[in-house]
Amino acid sequence: MAEKKRRRITVRYALHRLRHIKASTVVILLLLTIVAAVSILPIIYIISNAFKPLSELFLYPPRLFVRSPTLQNFYEFFYSTDVSAIPLSRYIFNSLFVMIVTVAMTLIFSSACAYAFSKMRFPGRKWMFDMIIIALMFTPEAVVITRYLIVSNLHMINTYFAHILPHLALPIGVFLMKQFIDQVPDSLCEAAKIDGANEVRILLNIIIPTVLPAVGAVMIIAFQNVWSDITTSTFYMVDESMKTLPYFVSTLSNALAVASVARKGAVAAAGLLLFLPNFLIFAMLQKSMIETMVTSGIK
């Protein structure tokens, strides 16, 4: 009864609001709807492509939605490694292992580093932070040679270190976390200090829980960096067994020229599988990501 009544009130309220909507609001809503529709198209395309039978995949003009869905592409993808010596599970393990370790360690390093920059006074503090900001300006492509030399000279070629270590220094992560930790009042840390906490405990028990949005954002950034990374597998890995899933998928699509057209279906299925974790992580953390963008004033 009460439920019904409440619903009636909400409906009436919604109608009431609709009646008082302004013309400008209508225009804005319309534009937003168009933008949203356009940006969701690729996602729909990825999903529906994965389920298209071969006949539809090569249809011209292409269709957005699948007519007669099939799981054929997935079978094909999972059996595509039959011809090579490395099972698909190895690529998946490599990807997951590298991703989890990298994201976890990036969080540790970024937050510890940001905490020190934000709450401690030490010589060279400003200078070092400026260096991190400058590092933000370089694209990975600009430093690819130096990075290769470092990785090679440290004898990390063909090891998991080469997968993980270069990703750990995440200037944007340090910067984001620092912006957030700056907002935490100093007295909070001082109260914890007087209560008997050391710096590690202050960071873990007090700082991290209060800057969770930034933690979410850094997680997304770190994840995307490492999950979609093909260059590491291409440049630093010698053995096929050390390479990651995205690399394997890219070889599938590159093989298009020499191998059969049938691979096209496997690539479509792999595309969906690679995209899913991205989607899930973002769906889980999107609230904190948006919060971060709004409050830190950067994108």
Partner: protein, 377 residues
């Protein structure tokens, strides 16, 4: 035994060049169980002093002792202190219970003991029904109680409080003032309390330290500070409305010594004449009297009054509850001089512009040196 001692403590900020030190040669002994209030205008160094005791600020020179031990190089957690912050500084992610228990858990106390002591102290503060909530879900006054609770669960040597009431509204402030006093009496814990509010200082402190520009102006009980201020600054800082200062000269008359200027001649009672005061005969000095020790009545007089008073014009009449503050101007020529303020009763209603005869209780008149500002009598 002295619980806390500060010996020749200085604080000089290295980057603040050409600025006076934040704290200069601070000497103070705080007795066991004492409620010591540091009071002064903002920027006078009172908070810096407190933070040096806490260990949150390094000591440039001198030493601080807690329980007879030099603590200069000890970190805050090894000094056995508890602190209440102005903005409460509650951990936003922890429930009130966990906020209060945080320090105990870090000290590896047994769980059942923690629960016992936290719930007992929470009951004492009347917040035991809120312990499952987060800080953001309770009111400002309740947050303040939790901050207080977090300090008192630990039985520290010294409580440090940094303007704990200044974020509360006026009514809550008065309530928490008595609350803190009550808890201090119950626990008998040594407390150092920083405030800029002289009412808090007067009502709460066993002793008060008045500071200005990093220097101690006076240390004393509330009565001493109020009745025997060491200098003009203390006299003007403590008391609402503030003390009246009147420029004049100590002269000899045939009836004895008198304080006089162009508008008044006030005979000084025989018993108040100390040798130090007599030395100021025929010198300029500053007479001072609290608004509470003067009376005013409507009299149409002019010129120089000889009956320990003066004539003046009522410039402003402020009604403050049961009291009425009368602002009386005796010198119409010098508008830059502040008018004399008298605390009268609500019934003493005069129109603005009325001529008043103001009479002072001569036993309550104080004198200050015109140059050094030190009290003569």
């Amino acid at each position: 035994m002295d619980k806390v001692s500060l010996r020749h403590v200085w604080k000089i900020y290295p980057n603040a060049k050409n600025v006076a030190p934040a704290v200069q040669d601070f000497n103070l002994d705080i007795r066991d169980g004492e409620f010591m209030v540091l009071v002064g205008a903002s920027g006078c160094g009172k908070t810096t002093t407190l933070r040096m005791i806490a260990g949150l600020e390094s000591i440039t020179k001198g030493e601080i002792l807690i329980d007879g031990k030099v603590v200069n190089d000890l970190s805050p957690r090894r000094r056995n202190i508890a602190m209440v912050f102005q903005n409460y500084a509650l951990y936003p992610n922890l429930t009130l219970l966990e906020n209060m228990a945080f320090g105990l858990r870090l000290r590896k106390m047994e769980k059942y003991k923690i629960n016992d002591i936290v719930s007992e102290r929470a009951k004492k503060l009347e917040i035991d029904h809120l312990m499952d909530r987060l800080p953001k879900d309770v009111s400002g006054g309740q947050r303040q109680r939790v901050a207080l609770g977090r300090a008192i669960v630990r039985d520290p040597s010294v409580f440090l409080m940094d303007e704990p009431l200044s974020n509360l509204d006026a009514k809550m402030r008065v309530q928490m003032r008595t609350e803190i006093t009550r808890i201090h009496r119950e626990l008998g814990a040594t407390t150092v309390y920083v405030t800029h509010d002289q009412t808090e200082a007067m009502t709460m402190g066993n002793r008060i330290v008045v500071m200005k520009a990093g220097l101690i102006q006076q240390v004393g009980t509330p009565e001493e500070i109020f009745n025997e201020p060491a200098n003009r600054y203390v006299a003007g800082f403590i008391g609402t409305p503030p003390m009246n200062f009147i420029g004049g000269r100590l002269i000899r008359t045939d009836k004895g010594f008198a304080f006089s200027n162009a508008f008044m001649l006030m005979l000084i009672p025989e018993e108040k004449l100390t040798p130090t005061l007599v030395k100021y005969a025929d010198h300029d000095l500053i007479g001072a009297i609290r608004p509470d020790y003067m009376t005013a009545k409507a009299v149409n007089g002019k010129g120089k009054n000889m009956e320990n008073g003066f004539y003046g014009t009522l410039e402003l009449s402020e009604l403050v509850g049961a009291d009425r503050y009368l602002h009386v101007r005796y010198n119409q020529q010098n508008r830059s001089e502040a008018p004399v303020v008298i605390r009268a009763s609500i019934h003493d209603r005069y129109d603005e512009g009325t001529r008043l005869l103001v009479q002072a209780d001569m036993n309550m008149l104080l004198f200050f040196d015109i140059n050094s500002g030190k009290r003569i009598l």
